[in-house]
Symmetry: C2
Subunit: 450 residues, 2 copies
């Protein structure tokens, strides 16, 4: 039995806790047992998660030892910012496949970070099977999403050459579902009375992580297939907006923007937005010149390589636009043309930069709210001075969906070639049937001469 | 300050709790404040959730008052079982649209039950905006899923007649994404420091509920479109398996099956499985006779109604199968034919009944594990004697996905008609281009004479 002094201490903390909301520290002292319910003390539980801003490479630390810790951190952060930008350019230079592979690596890393927080919060120690289960679900959903559309739509030419691959494509959904069912049954069988609640919570946690990480990286890869420009411009916009909002905030920031991120200001938000708009248009203009960036990634069967050259789609070809009436009059007075020549993509970039500067930051607010909820500073420590992968990619996630939806709604058109691929998957007699029906319809509409 | 006696009581309970795993009751006494972290005492929090087996209609109670409570419950459960079966038959009789509407209603109800548990667990009282947000996400995801495929694939004939509808279809993904973004921003803006952790937990809870409820009911509706038989047979199999496993367990049950559901036995599991196999084949055989059940739901443009008559697909037409060698010999000796005539669908029903009797119960185990985790007996009280909607539909959820994947993998083929619909969405000159390419290819392969 504990002494009376200790008891009143505990009791006092309990009463204090009543006024502290999420910060309740109820029973943190006796929290040495792992078989307990979550969240008597979040801080206690998540303090073991590695924090990026604390971890720094040893060699750099020695070199920078004359500097004060604050400056040291800034220098390191700067160095790694430029290293990342350099690496990004290098990957782009290598080509779209390298970019897709990088997306996959980042995805797996982000998943690992989110899951690790879950483990800490729900005290995974002792939870049966959970680490393996999470990875199994990650493999399953990747198999499903990548197979579903990529294999069927983009790589099918390569893959349909082999018998096994053709089988895998035909039974793709069935295989994915079977894999999921294996995970599901495995989860149910792993349930242990003592841990029910934490097991279900982590099951949910895993599924939400998959929803965020796998679907988004899948969409990013789909976007890359439409041309690398659809990846590079949006990603750069988010980075530009981050940096410029920080700069404007630093020099002119006065009015706080949102309680969640006390350092963000309205001045930074607006300045960042305007900069993103103009720099985004500039970048778009520059990239529109190069087929390497604007051509969809397509496999050339005849040459057996991926094709980076093409006849660019109309949105990447210069077009003349009429200026608005009054603006045109002013231009005419100055002896200029009433029209302006531009790539349509540059106009589309306006929509992208609006989204990245208005909605993008909410991805960041969401992530910082999440970090505050679980009392962590960073998601991990993989990038010195920056924190975890998730800390760098938090705003990118919503952007990928936006770009994908934008392409699907306003840009992409079903091409006769793609549809023809589907026609070839019918039986020969059905192909003939379709041919005859199409012929009749074309003649009836006067498009084809009988 | 509390008296010393109370303090030692609290301290004692804390020490007890160390050995209790998920049952920790730390600080339950001071748990009167709503701004606390979850799960010091789950039981305390979820006890307000209405429990079906406790609620019974007043008039029945009066009529059945001579019976003991145990028997009264059985009678009520029986009455409502038959009422549900009757209602189910009535809805089927009205037709597929009524069935789809019912699926939607059940979906919304299940979502409500799951969300209500979340509210109780995380003490929603005081959480800003959460109830509205959950419903907003429910509307958004329904709008997305139903629109995505139903409107585009099945109803497009009706809807494309009106200008507004055509606009809605063209911008469907964009609208859905905008709706989601509104919800997302709304959530971020509603974050309040005191509640961060619970707000994020409920955000995740809502998304998992949507994943379970909306996607499944969407798949169910897709299945109905392939013919009502794809809905009725699987649903009945789950019910048959439930009932027969109970019967076999009741009469022969000895060997316990799984710790999660102590009442389930191996005898029930196996007896239920065998009964499901045979009764499922019988039901399938019976239903294959009626076009009303086997015809895909299609809108007939000429008659402006839904079409329930068709030329049944080959799997619903009797076919002769050769018996295995030895069995054929025995049949031949008896003077019978060496072949057997059967609907191919009856053979497919074997796969369905295997899934419903082997994997289906895991849906039930999952649900009962979930209920144990949160210390509730039922999900709700909407069906007297049975509990909530979720209690009745827990095993149905996985089944819907299985049937859908099964149809997509083994049954459904792209029809020339459906593909032609897509061809007609191209520009006229592209249609002509496709026509010419197809012509060349058909001639090259010798399918079409030049």
């Amino acid at each position: 039995m504990a002494s009376l002094g200790e008891e009143s201490e505990v009791r006092k903390r309990m009463i204090d806790a009543e006024d502290k909301g999420d910060q309740a520290v109820l029973g943190s002292e006796v929290d040495s047992d792992d078989d307990r319910l979550p969240e008597q003390n979040i801080e206690q539980r998540t303090k073991a998660i590695p924090q990026g801003t604390e971890q720094e490479p040893h060699i750099l630390l020695t070199l920078l030892s004359p500097l004060s810790p604050r400056w040291r951190n800034w220098v390191i952060r700067g160095i790694f910012t430029w290293l990342m930008i350099g690496l990004f350019c290098l990957i782009i230079f290598v080509g779209p496949l390298a970019l897709m592979f990088t997306t996959l690596v980042v995805q797996v890393w982000c998943f690992k970070e989110i899951i690790n927080i879950g483990y800490s919060v729900y005290r995974m120690h002792g939870l049966p099977w959970f680490r393996s289960l999470s990875w199994w679900f990650l493999i399953t959903s990747n198999y499903f999403f990548y197979g579903e559309s990529l294999v069927a739509d983009y790589f099918s030419v390569i893959f349909s050459k082999s018998e096994i691959m053709r089988w895998l494509i035909a039974y793709h959904r069935f295989t994915s579902f079977t894999m999921y069912i294996i995970g599901f049954v495995w989860f149910v069988l792993s349930l242990k009375k003592k841990y029910y609640m934490r097991q279900f919570s982590l099951f949910a946690w895993t599924h939400v992580a998959l929803l965020i990480v796998v679907t988004q990286s899948y969409l990013i890869i789909i976007n890359i297939f439409h041309g690398m420009i659809w990846f590079i411009v949006p990603v750069s916009m988010i980075v530009i907006n981050d940096v410029m909002a920080y700069m404007f905030g630093f020099f002119f920031g006065k009015t706080p923007l949102i309680q969640l991120s006390p350092k963000k200001t309205w001045e930074g938000f607006i300045g960042g937005g305007i900069s993103t708009l103009f720099l985004g248009m500039l970048l778009s203009y520059a990239m529109c010149q190069y087929p390497f960036f604007v051509c969809p990634v397509e496999y050339s069967e005849s040459e057996d390589i991926f094709n980076y050259s093409c006849d660019p789609s109309p949105i990447f070809r210069p077009q003349e636009y009429n200026l608005p009436e009054t603006m045109g009059n002013v231009f005419a007075l100055l002896g200029w043309k009433r029209t302006i020549t531009m790539y349509p993509f540059v106009l589309h970039s306006i929509a992208l930069s609006l989204f990245s500067s208005v909605i993008g930051p909410f991805g960041g607010f969401f992530a910082s709210g999440f970090k505050r909820a679980f009392k962590i500073k960073d998601f991990g420590d993989v990038i010195p001075g920056h924190g975890g992968m998730m800390d760098r990619f938090d705003c990118q996630y919503l952007m990928a969906t936006f770009v994908n939806v934008y392409i699907m709604t306003f840009i992409s058109e079903t091409s006769p070639q793609k549809l023809l691929q589907k026609v070839y998957m019918l039986k020969p007699e059905q192909q003939l049937q379709l041919y005859n029906m199409l012929q009749d319809s074309l003649i009836a509409r006067g498009i084809l001469q009988p």
